[in-house]
């Protein structure tokens, strides 16, 4: 189990994820400018390939790293005797709850190299946010999530997100609320069983 404070973001990883492709592209542009002023195959490669690779990196690399690390974490948890009674995968994090032993494992998208296994008793507050805005017939939401605080750090796990606002009685919102309520109950139960 981890006793160190929870870190949702690894600043070094976040900055390098964004800046390294920019730096590599800039260096390639500079090399292209210095050595291939008259054009040619070298110039084409140096000016076109790095931006394309950077785009692919930003679009897919984060998800691939996160998925790989999530698999590693699940394998490690199994080896350590952690029972993953309920696993919830979201875009920004993965929460795994061992209800029987009152434990909780977490991995964050922006801190994928560090997984956390904690006793659920460290959770101080658990609640659901249906993201409702507006009143009466205009009420709607574009995000539903469950939240909890560990050592004062608030963790939000989305169960539904959209770029459009949906009515509160739409199937998407109801499913999101149901998932969020379910996970809140799961966390409450794990907390209750935690020593």
């Amino acid at each position: 189990m981890n006793s160190e404070p929870l870190k949702k973001k690894n600043l070094l990883y976040l900055l390098s994820y964004i800046c390294v492709p920019i730096a590599v592209t800039a260096v390639c542009f500079l090399l292209g400018y210095l050595f291939f002023r008259d054009g040619g195959m070298g110039a084409a490669i140096l000016f076109m390939v790095p931006p394309a690779l950077s785009l692919l990196w930003w679009m897919f690399a984060g998800k691939m790293i996160f998925k790989g690390k999530r698999k590693n974490m699940m394998r490690e948890l199994e080896r350590s005797g952690f029972t993953p009674n309920h696993t919830f995968d979201s875009d920004g994090s993965t929460v795994v709850v061992d209800i029987e032993h009152g434990k909780l494992a977490m991995l964050f998208f922006w801190n994928p190299f560090q997984s956390y296994v904690l006793p659920a008793s460290r959770i101080s507050k658990i609640w659901t946010d249906d993201g409702k805005t507006g009143m009466g017939p205009l009420a709607g939401s574009s995000r539903v999530s469950f939240l909890f605080t560990i050592d004062g750090v608030r963790i939000r796990v989305n169960t539904f997100t959209s770029n459009k606002r949906w009515r509160m009685d739409s199937d998407y919102i109801l499913t999101g609320i149901s998932k969020a309520d379910m996970m809140a109950e799961v966390l409450e139960e794990a907390k209750g069983r935690s020593v």
Partner: protein, 156 residues
Amino acid sequence: MGIFRKMRAMFHEDWCSLCQSEMDVMHKQLFALPDVTVGHYCSHEEPGYFREHLVPVGKKSQIPAGMYACGLHQYRCPQCGNRRTKLTVFLPVREEEKIEEILFFDHGELDGLIYQKDMGFAGFPDANGPDARLGKNGGLRQDSADRKTCGPYGYE
């Protein structure tokens, strides 16, 4: 029997399909469907599946969040004695119900469930009980978030 009454009967599920009379509700019962949770719904039409998996509950608050439920209504026609069972499969979400499907059984396929009801609600752990979330085998569940991206004209 008037043709209009027959047409109207098509839109009234509690009207007798034989004589178009309004049927009486003989039994009403709420069931939990512990094997089906939110995000994992798949349609079943065989009565055997429901006979095996439905667990009677007293009230909706006994059903843990994220678990599907079924409402059973048994109708009987006071004129011709015809019987019909309506089973509504839904996901209870706070005060709302997300209805998945409504099934009708006309040959007493679910009668066993009604008699089971009289045996009490012993088979289901309470929503706040210690084993409500673990299921029968301490099962492992996996869920994920949903994302809905719409274009500029993405209406539903």
